[in-house]
Amino acid sequence: MNLLIWIVVAAAVIGVFLIVLLINIYNRLVQLRNRFENSYSQIDVQLKRRYDLIPNLVETAKAYLKHERETLEAVIAARNQAVSANNKAAESPSDPAAIQAMIGAESALGGSIGRLFALMENYPDLKGNENMLSVQEELSSTENRIGFARQAYNDSVMSYNARRESFPDILLAGIYGFQEAVYWLIEDATERETPQVDF
């Protein structure tokens, strides 16, 4: 009978220990996931700012680019696509599919804006337009912030993924439903150039 008591007590103790361990693993993963979701919200704020600037950009350009309607319409369409993709991703940044869709929409938008800017090279009047210059400046400043926020997001995704793939977290990640998070990598040539700034 003594033995039975021992067994029960030992079982209870081990049981409690395991439960606490499980809870801790869960909490740790949740914490790291919160962190990268938080990082996404930083990107979200800046993206929204950019999306708000684009209609202004298109309106200003419209007056000069009367025969380039397709390019302008493409920009607006890509922008709307990105807005809805971003809304979905912002709601659940831990859903890999949503983030992938977001990355796709963003690169499409970047492409169409790039084409617009390339086109603008042929219209010096438009390039020198005051409103256009100010919108471009706002856009570039927003781009800077997006880049920085993306870097922070990727850093936190890395911490989360590293922890998730380690032992013993990897055993439970599947059960708990912690999926691998997606990195946001874009080839951004402008970030590499060394500026000749003087002030």
């Binding site: 009978m1 003594n2 033995l3 039975l4 008591i5 021992w6 029960v8 007590v9 209870a12 103790v13 049981g15 409690v16 220990f17 439960i19 606490v20 809870i23 801790n24 909490n27 914490q31 919160n34 938080n38 990082s39 919200s41 930083q42 704020v45 800046q46 400046e137 570039s140 400043s141 781009e143 800077n144 912030r145 880049g147 920085f148 926020a149 870097q151 922070a152 850093d155 936190s156 402008t190 970030e191 590499r192 150039e193 060394t194 500026p195 700034v197 003087d198 002030f199």
Partner: protein, 668 residues
């Protein structure tokens, strides 16, 4: 009662808490033993009555079985210890861990929502006014009740949480009143006490949880067994385990009951103190009284949905749950009557719709608080010469008394300083990228040659985007008046705290490069670096343990380094500086002498001062108080107060964890 007395009271309360808790634990251990004993006796009776011969000899019935007691006691203590340790570990993340577990969403500082940005402004204003770094603010979106909390274990990692109901129902004054109440918790050392309570309570909770789990597992197993074969003893064995589980659950509940009583007893008195402090800080009883009345008028009151709130119920502004016995807060009417003795008990009707945000415009907000017209606010800030000596009378006693408190004039000063900062720069501090740009820009030298070197070094090590952004805002930075620079840095702190580990490393290196570009450290650079890096370092290097100084000599040496910096900063004449230092070190240690160890040159040794400050930040509250006093003696020595001295004092206070309110440093 001043800051230091509050801290000591909080410590005493913690001691009481521990004693009461130990009492509860002892009770629980005895109860568990009692249960195990009963079960053992019952089992023994069964085996004696049943036909199955048991090999173990019959235990004779006595109340005390040493090994049984030790086993059950060990198991119980282990479970409690585990629960407490785990909760403490999970709370070691500080305030953010608590806020996130309650479902809070970190407010983005660049938010465009007027209610959210108003809340951020109220919090920022109070933080700058009182001398703590601007805390992170969390919003509990799903909670419609009016409630708020402050969590963290030090003033510099405090976190403020607010329910959506607060944003919707309270006006700016009332919000300020609630924030003042929370800030007073931060200053009084209540947060640490509260977190400790959460940790201890969780340990007792674990017993009832483990009881529940045992019960569940057994009822499943028993069901299976019964279907397969009905064996009397097996069934009885299962029932025995079931009873054990039930007993543990009940015992755990008893523990929870007592723990809640303890919480209630310890918390309630502190709430009255916090209410009183809120009135003292704002000199506006209507603010906090108004908030309390609205809680009374709202159907939901201060209640919270989230089940996690139970554990943290003592952290909140108002009673998060119904029920008098376990109320963590005194009754509303009593609280209101203490502030407004003539209150009749009629609560205003409060609906969920947002009250008119007539003060939603940032400019008019600042103007209203400061009685400046809107045009004055948006005008360019006039740069003042950094060497201006303000003939501000320095009151040593008052300064020591004002540590960890706030006065309306500090709030006004904070508002005025903020209004002198152009809106573009304020917006710049709101996201991590812009915050880095802000700090780099503030370190750019006026001298064009040195600036060129700084820019060149940044070009090599920072992103091109950073320099482009710096160029954009350079003219605004150049025109900033001296008194607004450090507050601007303080505003940038929350965004800087969001830098990831790698981003922080890069930022820190760039910061150091910018400062050493001219091979010299100026006072402002020292202050900025200290303000920024000491807080961020704690965030990214959580493993650093407090290193208590070994001896009094070390403490005196550190204090000497620090005070020599203060003395030189405040006295143009080097002889006078030495006398001031002598006098102030005497107040700390009568035998101290100006000897060869002292810095003989007229230049401040910032490296030594920094080291000294770090060492002193790990000492006890008593030593810190005496060091602060010594600093005050040093400043008072020549009867004149320079802005540099006050700025340095504020940074010293910040490093020691003694929040110093914002005073006028520049003459109007």
């Amino acid at each position: 009662m001043d800051f230091f007395e509050h801290q000591r009271t909080a410590k005493t309360n913690t001691l009481w808490l521990s004693i009461l808790f130990a009492g509860a634990v002892t009770l629980i251990v005895l109860l568990v033993y009692g249960v195990v004993l009963c079960v053992a006796a019952y089992q023994q009776q069964l085996s004696a009555a049943g036909g199955v011969a048991r090999s173990a000899p019959a235990l004779d019935f006595s109340w005390w079985h040493t090994e049984l007691f030790l086993t059950s006691a060990a198991a119980t203590l282990f479970v409690i210890f585990l629960g407490t340790a785990c909760k403490r570990w999970s709370l070691s993340g500080g305030g953010t861990a608590v806020a996130e577990s309650l479902g809070g969403r970190q407010l983005n500082r660049s938010t465009t929502d007027p209610a959210e940005s108003r809340l951020l402004n109220v919090v920022d204003e109070m933080a700058i006014a009182s001398g703590i770094p601007c805390p992170l603010v969390y919003l509990l979106d799903d909670e419609n009740g009016i409630n708020a909390f402050a969590a963290g274990d030090r003033p510099d990692n405090a976190v403020i949480g607010v329910t959506k109901g607060c944003l919707d129902a309270l006006d700016r004054d009332e919000l300020q009143g609630v924030m003042a109440h929370e800030f007073s918790h931060i200053f009084n050392g209540d947060m640490k006490l509260n977190l400790r309570m959460m940790g201890l309570l969780h340990g007792i909770l674990l017993i009832s949880i483990s009881g529940t789990i045992i019960m569940r597992s057994v009822s499943l197993r028993a069901g299976h067994r019964y279907r397969r074969r009905s064996n009397n003893n097996d069934a009885k064995g299962a029932i025995f385990i079931l009873c054990l589980g039930l007993a543990l659950f009940l015992i755990g509940s008893v523990g929870v009951f007592f723990a809640r009583l303890i919480k209630a007893a310890v918390s309630r008195q502190r709430e009255f103190l916090a209410d009183a402090a809120a009135v003292q800080f704002t000199r506006n009883p209507d603010g906090i009284a108004g908030a309390l009345k609205k809680i009374g008028g709202l159907v939901r009151g201060a209640q919270l949905h989230s089940p996690k709130a139970e554990e943290a119920s003592h952290l909140f502004f108002g009673n998060a749950f119904k029920g008098q016995w376990f109320a963590t807060h005194p009754p509303l009417i009593e609280r209101i009557r203490r502030i407004e003795p003539r209150f009749e008990g009629k609560f205003p009707r409060v609906t969920h719709s947002k009250t008119s945000h007539s003060d939603s415009s940032l400019v008019s907000q600042l103007a209203a608080g400061n009685q400046l017209s809107a045009s004055e606010v948006t005008a360019e800030a006039v740069p003042s010469t950094p060497d201006q000596t303000a003939k501000v009378r320095f009151d040593m006693e008052a300064t020591i008394e004002r540590v960890g408190t706030l006065l309306p004039e500090n709030l006004q000063q904070a508002q005025q300083v903020q209004s002198q900062i152009p809106q573009t720069l304020r917006t710049l501090t709101q996201d991590p990228f812009g915050a880095c740009v802000t700090v780099y820009s503030l370190l750019l030298d006026r001298n064009a040659d040195i600036r060129k070197r700084q820019i060149a070094s940044l070009a090599k090590h920072a992103q091109g985007a950073v320099l482009r952004e710096m160029k954009r805002h350079w003219s605004a930075f150049r025109q900033l008046s001296g008194g607004t620079k450090l507050p601007l840095v303080e505003l940038a702190m929350p965004a800087l705290k969001q830098l990831t580990g790698e981003q922080y490393q890069g930022f820190q290196k760039n910061l150091n490069r910018l400062i050493s570009a001219d091979n010299d450290i100026q006072l402002f650079e020292f202050l900025l670096r200290r303000t920024v890096l000491s807080h961020l370092k704690k965030l990214h290097d959580a493993t650093r343990r407090k290193q208590r100084p070994e001896s009094a000599t070390q403490v005196h040496a550190a204090a000497a380094d620090l005070i020599s910096a203060l003395a030189i900063a405040g006295h143009a004449d080097h002889q006078q500086a030495l006398t001031a230092m002598q006098q102030s070190m005497h107040s700390l240690s009568p035998s101290w002498n100006v000897n060869s160890q002292t810095n003989p040159s007229a230049q401040i040794d910032f490296v030594a001062a920094d080291r000294g400050l770090t060492l002193l930040s790990d000492t006890t509250l008593n030593i810190k108080q005496r060091v602060l006093r010594a600093c005050a003696v040093c400043i008072e020595h020549d009867g004149q107060t320079t802005p540099d001295e006050l700025l340095l004092l504020r940074v010293i206070g910040d490093a020691l964890g003694l929040p110093m309110p914002l005073q006028k440093t520049y003459s109007p």
